[in-house]
Amino acid sequence: MLGEIGAKDFQDLFGNIPADIRLKRALDIEGGLTEQDLDERIKEKGSWNRPAAEGSCFLGGGTWDHSWPAVVDQLSGRTEFLTAYTPYQPECSQGTLQCIFEFQSMMAELCGMDVANASMYDGASACAEALLLATSTTRRKRVVVSKGLHPDARATIQTYLRYQNIEVVEAPLRNGVTDWNGSVDSQTAAVLVQQPNFLGNVEALDPVAASCQETGALAVASINPIALGLLRSPGHAGFDIVVGEGQPLGIPMGYGGPHFGFFATRQKFVRKIPGRLVGATLDQEGRKAYTLTFQTREQHIRREKATSNICTNNALMALRGCIHLAALGPKGLEEIACVSRQRALQLAEELSSVDGIELAWPDRPFFNEVAFRAAGGNPAVAQFKTTLAQNGIQAVLPMSRWYEDMEGVFTLACTERTRSKDIKRLCDQAQNTFRLEVSL
């Protein structure tokens, strides 16, 4: 082949790279492992991990230990999906395109919105993009964000909006839910609330929708999609944009990624939506066909005037979400939501009966995640977390890491995978830990 090109050797082939910037040595990168060697190496490294999903996992805070049916792995692992590119050529991508169309349909329905896009990187970046849409639509430069929004999402918003000269106002938490008092005004572009919030508590959506209605701001919700098996959709409450983290819909926790974000909104904002959209149309013979659409919003056409810079999204993860939602159906989704909530109720009751632990906000309704307060404060929380981990229970997210005024507060999450005996083991460990605390 070199001969046909007219090159003497590979050096010749790289002749356009000036000699003085060519690397004169081999890279110092280990490799050359056979498949078997690599397999051994990775197993050894894997043994240094203690995967939460293998024991019992009560960690939540944006990623939850849900189950998914085997069809999700089997179908999303088909290499015709896995190794395809973005479906820019519709005739040879109808499979991926129809899947995205079905995903958009189900996400829009779940959120109570008219349209949803093909996915975002994750829930946090979807929140930031929602606020960008709101500021560009309303031409206002101020957004109000609940302090009950996931701390990583709040940090992401700060970064994304920093150079757009947008003021980000954080509405404080009071008694475990957002206190909006006076924060929304006629200069506000958007109000963003998380449902349920980072503490696990259910927020009231109506006041948010009402104050947005009054001021012309867009109401934005970041939601846990599984919670929507029980809780009403933000669309029903009159919200304008619904975003969130899709991980509970059949995505492995995977140390935090890749997951997928979703973005749903009203039809009137369709030309402002970030990312890819699939639409149904016809082919030359009048047959139904799917294609990427409204591409003039996007960076590859609009360049510096694009609605967003997003190109690659998290399509394969969204496909998992699509398959999972199809497998759940309305009843399956409701059952998972119910069982997650029932387990959390059980946990709340049993753990709060342990001396030294109480519900942080006893009057606050929650979904599948509950906040507790340890009388022994942060040291007791840390001790509890360590003890549990030593016993194969991954649990306890200390809220003081993000909220200065939440000494001794921690959350625990349940899913349909949580068994009564897991709850009992956790409570037994709590008895031991806190009895020790008290006797010290």
């Binding site: 690397l23 490294k45 939460a52 015709e80 150079y163 659409t293 190109c311 496909l319 759940l328």
Partner: protein
């Protein structure tokens, strides 16, 4: 290719049909204590299907896709190389995908050690010592780097430097990312040789210059030979050089951006490092920067300490976060596996064979197609229909659709914008000579059809689930969900 119509899930829905069941659900008990106003009254209208319904549905849809596992996929600047099976199998194991992102560092030492090694390998491969694995994709990485540049300039009080220079051959994400980071974009022309026009660059450099975003090798598949001089000029003007690393596959082990003056760059692990594209993602877009810019990298980062590895968020100057958690770990894992299998030697061989394959195709096709920059290319080259073909009314779109009909995924078309009717061909190193020969033969036959003005080209593809789709109609009468009336 499955030509049958596959109904929408909702069209096959049968009331009461089930797939997943969960025991113990008691709605009454579950809603007890929830505020009435927030409880859903009506279940969402999701489809009701059996497991077999679902398996057939998605399996049959998968059969309507071209993919690397079924077809040659010479998509320029997308690096559609083979994705090894072992890497998928590893990523599916619970030791990795069962990790919760809030587990303590001590519980996830395997994951952190792997991220640490990957950071070091990417630093070595690029010659840029500061690495973050945080960004979710290439464009996300660009944005991260531009934010770093903003933070760096602001930290030095250089608030007048707000212009980023971008060549006209650049990917659209470059200018879009600039806007998000609050920069203004000025476009630099390409020279007659398809390289950045140094005169035009000099004319635009000034006290308002924040930096240059350059893709090297560029999207014409040409190495920017004067890259060192270009970087020096930008630095002299007080700016920084960002390199779009989409085409890194061509230069791995051959030359290092850090050595030729680049200050920051992103890598697409889903291109150069063989993680699967998944029909549009997930990707991963690590950023590599100079020592000077390291303090500005996003949080968190992995460090090695005496007692093991830790995630830290200790830099005051950090730009913060652009996503939740610690990066697309599952993608990082596959890239790590790829690097460990290839090592330094293998990575160099990747670049060599990628460049060899592209040049081989260029030589095979140069007489039959117009190749506007017909000299030794890197991993890809750009062709276009000859004038005679265009006079016959045959355009690049027709070529692309005819290729589909002949069983090939088309190259990237109508990009880069600097070549009219561009056909951008990147075979990658994982294709055999036999595949390249067969593709070349097909391209030659299509060229002959185009020269003859064969009107069948306008009708292609005829053997796919759908023929050419009416994209204008999709915009004029938008149907974006199955609920649209």
């Amino acid at each position: 290719m499955n030509l049958d119509i596959v109904h929408l899930l909702i069209e096959d829905s049968v009331p009461g049909r089930r797939c997943v069941r969960t025991s113990g659900a008691d709605r009454k008990a579950a809603i007890a204590g929830l505020p009435q106003a927030e409880v859903r009254e009506q279940a969402p209208a999701l489809p009701e299907l059996s497991e077999m319904d679902i398996v057939r549905h998605f399996t049959r849809l998968s059969q309507k896709n071209f993919a690397i596992s079924t077809q040659f996929y010479p998509l320029g600047s997308c690096t559609m190389k083979y994705n090894p099976a072992l890497h998928e199998s590893i990523a599916g194991r619970s030791h990795w995908n069962g990790l919760h992102p809030w587990q303590d560092d001590g519980e996830v030492q395997g994951a952190l050690s792997l991220m640490w090694e990957l950071q070091n390998d990417l630093a070595e491969a690029t010659g840029l010592p500061g690495v973050t694995l945080h960004p979710a994709a290439g464009a996300h990485g660009e944005l991260t780097a531009l934010m770093i540049l903003r933070a760096y300039l602001d930290g030095r009080g250089e608030t007048k430097r707000r212009v980023i220079l971008i060549p006209d051959s650049a990917h659209g994400t470059n200018p879009a990312s600039c806007t998000l980071a609050g920069f203004k974009v000025l476009t630099i022309q390409s020279s007659k040789r398809g390289l950045l026009d140094r005169e035009d660059l000099r004319a635009h450099l000034g006290s308002d210059t924040a930096g240059l975003m350059i893709t090297n090798p560029n999207t014409l598949g040409l190495f920017e030979e004067n890259i060192r001089e270009i970087c020096d000029a930008v630095h002299e003007a007080g700016g920084k050089v960002y390199m779009d690393g989409a085409n890194f596959n061509a230069i791995m082990g051959v030359t290092r951006p850090g050595d030729f003056g680049v200050d920051m760059m992103h890598l697409n692990l889903h291109k150069s490092f063989s993680t699967p594209h998944g029909g549009g993602g997930p990707g991963s877009g690590p950023i590599c920067v100079t020592e000077e810019l390291r303090p500005y990298l996003p949080n968190p980062r992995v460090v090695e300490e005496e007692n093991g590895y830790r995630l830290i968020e200790d830099s005051e100057a950090s730009i913060g976060r652009l996503r939740a958690f610690h990066g697309n770990f599952g993608v990082l894992l596959r890239a790590w596996a790829y690097i460990r299998r290839l090592g330094a030697k293998g990575l160099l061989r990747v670049a060599e064979n990628a460049v060899l394959n592209a040049n081989y195709l260029r030589i095979k096709l140069r007489e039959h197609w117009r190749v506007p920059y017909d000299r030794t290319c890197t991993h890809e080259f750009v062709a276009r229909p000859k004038k005679t073909m265009r006079e016959n009314g045959i355009h690049t779109i027709d070529i692309a659709k005819r290729l589909i009909e002949r069983g090939y995924h088309p190259p990237t078309v109508y990009f880069p914008l600097v070549v009219n009717e561009a056909i951008m061909i990147e075979p990658t190193e994982t294709e055999s000579k036999a595949t390249l020969d067969a593709f070349a033969q097909t391209m030659i036959e299509i060229a002959q059809e185009a020269e003859a003005g064969n009107s069948a080209l306008h009708a292609a593809p005829k053997n796919m689930p759908v023929s050419r789709v009416d994209e204008a109609r999709a915009v004029k009468e938008p149907i974006l969900t199955w609920a649209t009336k």
